[in-house]
Symmetry: C2
Subunit: 436 residues, 2 copies
Amino acid sequence: MKPVDFLICGDVLITHLNNAPIPMGAVAVKGDTVVAAGPLPELAKSFTADRTINRPFGLILPGLINSHTHAAMTLFRGLADDLPLKTWLEGHIFPAEARLTPKLVALGTELACAEMIRCGTTSFVDMYLFEDTVASVVDRVGLRAWLGEGVFDFPSPSFSSGELAIKETERLMDKWKGHSRITITVDPHTPYTCRAELLRQSQRLAKARDALIIIHLAETEWENLEIRRLCGVSPVKHLDRLDLLGDRLIAIHCVSLSEDDISLLARRDVRVVHCPESNLKLASGVAPVPEFLEAGITVALGTDGAASNNDLDLMSEMDTAAKLHKGIKRNPTLISASDALSMATAWAAKALHREDLGCLREGSRADLAVVDMNQVHLRPCYNPVSHLVYVARSGDVQDVMVAGHMLMEDRVLTTIDEERLLKGLSGVVRELGLKA
Amino acid sequence: MKPVDFLICGDVLITHLNNAPIPMGAVAVKGDTVVAAGPLPELAKSFTADRTINRPFGLILPGLINSHTHAAMTLFRGLADDLPLKTWLEGHIFPAEARLTPKLVALGTELACAEMIRCGTTSFVDMYLFEDTVASVVDRVGLRAWLGEGVFDFPSPSFSSGELAIKETERLMDKWKGHSRITITVDPHTPYTCRAELLRQSQRLAKARDALIIIHLAETEWENLEIRRLCGVSPVKHLDRLDLLGDRLIAIHCVSLSEDDISLLARRDVRVVHCPESNLKLASGVAPVPEFLEAGITVALGTDGAASNNDLDLMSEMDTAAKLHKGIKRNPTLISASDALSMATAWAAKALHREDLGCLREGSRADLAVVDMNQVHLRPCYNPVSHLVYVARSGDVQDVMVAGHMLMEDRVLTTIDEERLLKGLSGVVRELGLKA
């Protein structure tokens, strides 16, 4: 009998890529690592655990990965809706963001972390401002994160130039180097807010540090037309000319693309993040995800920020991703429930070049969630993957573990004081010059 | 000081059609009726209550109306997904339905009622089988419902012919006449499963009894082509020739319509129920709801059955309804959060000719829900209607009242024993010849 730290026992276990459920599944965890995942009767013969967590109605699954968000924008959730993009951004979001401080970003990020833990998210990929502050919050609350300071041609609320934001990125890489849960990325904002030289600088830094480079790409038809007007080619082709396309590039949105763009993304092995709810809400359109999969592109899933979603609920996002393409293309076999779950687990891990995530098997990181299936809306259950995608919501998650630490146990957060956090918010809204 | 039965006090109150939030709102209830709804300081001067329910972080809203479902299909939730409609229906749903009994329908309906109460639903409109049994469950659990026995050309699991189903409808009308919460409707299934004579009989009964007539209409392009092939006109025009179109007709789905069909529905004042998630999941397409509203058609919202959604969460349905049309039409101003809420409240009440529902004002029925807004995903709050539609989910509902009776209080159901209900389900799945 080998000693382990945790034995987590459920009614059913979903381990990895093929998403086949294992009845009476359990996971043995030592340190930050999964030692074994499989049927409890087998594990019980091999391991003796310091702590056993029994969830007789629990569905154990790999922790979800939110591959695109702007965490601190929880502060602006529902601030302005149902408006044209330009009015929304320039009339509401930019003026509010101009008042951001590291303290406010810390609060917004903690709020986002609490919400994400509550929906079974164990990793997130963040592009925003004051990312050093974001990293400190992530370090403290225990989530896993990829963090990138937004790089723009114009001054941002945190830096007066894109060059300084790139310098900051380099500093963050040094500062957070070797942290087991925090990875710094290079985040040029978009092809239209970063001139060619800034994109080249971003790429040079990413290459030098073997870092991921993350960019919003082809989010709208306007962007597509604007880049064609300015550069004579599509946004995708523009990035290719600048040598940005490659398997270390994570392209967010990818809504307005030609067939040639899709082929090029596939040839260069660019990883794509699908944000269906934000794309719908901001009226950008629907990304051609079935075509991406057909072309062999790795597709991950993101909520985008709470200002354009308006939640960070990856379970609801899986639901939307699985339903939307069926309806639009009038083909019910597109994006199965298993595909949608993979976008939030194994495929996201592949996009991040971290195949020790998004799955539960010997050697993978101990990032997992347990969903309480003993609820009226989750019974009967013929297919747990179907229920996860089409029915389960954040309130159904009972436990969350990241790197072998319980961040939520029986619906109680262990690293975030929610009461204090919620009380802190009213003052913050005033500081932002807003009314709640 | 007038005595009332209940004073329900929240942080904010949404009363009716314009959905403007009232801070520190409260509702005074006597019997099954709202005596007053407005700011608490005003109400506190006029009323003394037997029971006061204080929800300092509560958002009080009119109870949601699920305008289309097949409640007992909760039994088949997730039984088969991501399949072509014909395979799904004929290979999975029909064979399972063939084994239905009144006992099984009672269980599935009770399960649906528990789920609907948990998401703030106070009224639902059901088209299914063994509706007398459904009515008994509704009578007992305390919801408000419009119930119709499905009428088909071929034998259903409950009746051997359409004529017998119509006879049963008449019997149900007599039996449940005068029930304060149960209304019987006439439910011919579709234009392609009911020959002209059956549709005419349905219409005659509806007219004679001043009842609503409810039909699935133009759900798919296949139906549109099939009716054109058989009758030479569109499904809408076909019903018009049979004199079915009118303000007592509730048409479900309405996805595949021509501009002429939309004009005709508007001219005849037909009420339409939008079921966006089911239409997406079954790959039927997207109903032209912005065009309906432009034409002045009353639009309500429904989840459809749990077999094609796969939940009965009207809050998630509002979210989808508000986002989907923006994205498809690339216009962020379409279907505002307030529109989506109205589809689930005031507009649904109008569709049902019951303007004492879907709102909270003097004289309306005391059907309401309270949402607990003191949660990380619902803070900060600049606009409660935005949060209700874009963020809140069933787990956020704290209290539900129907006709002056609390059906859920602080998240505990008062009329349904959930533990017993959940335990009862495993045997049922075996009885259906299925595996869970």
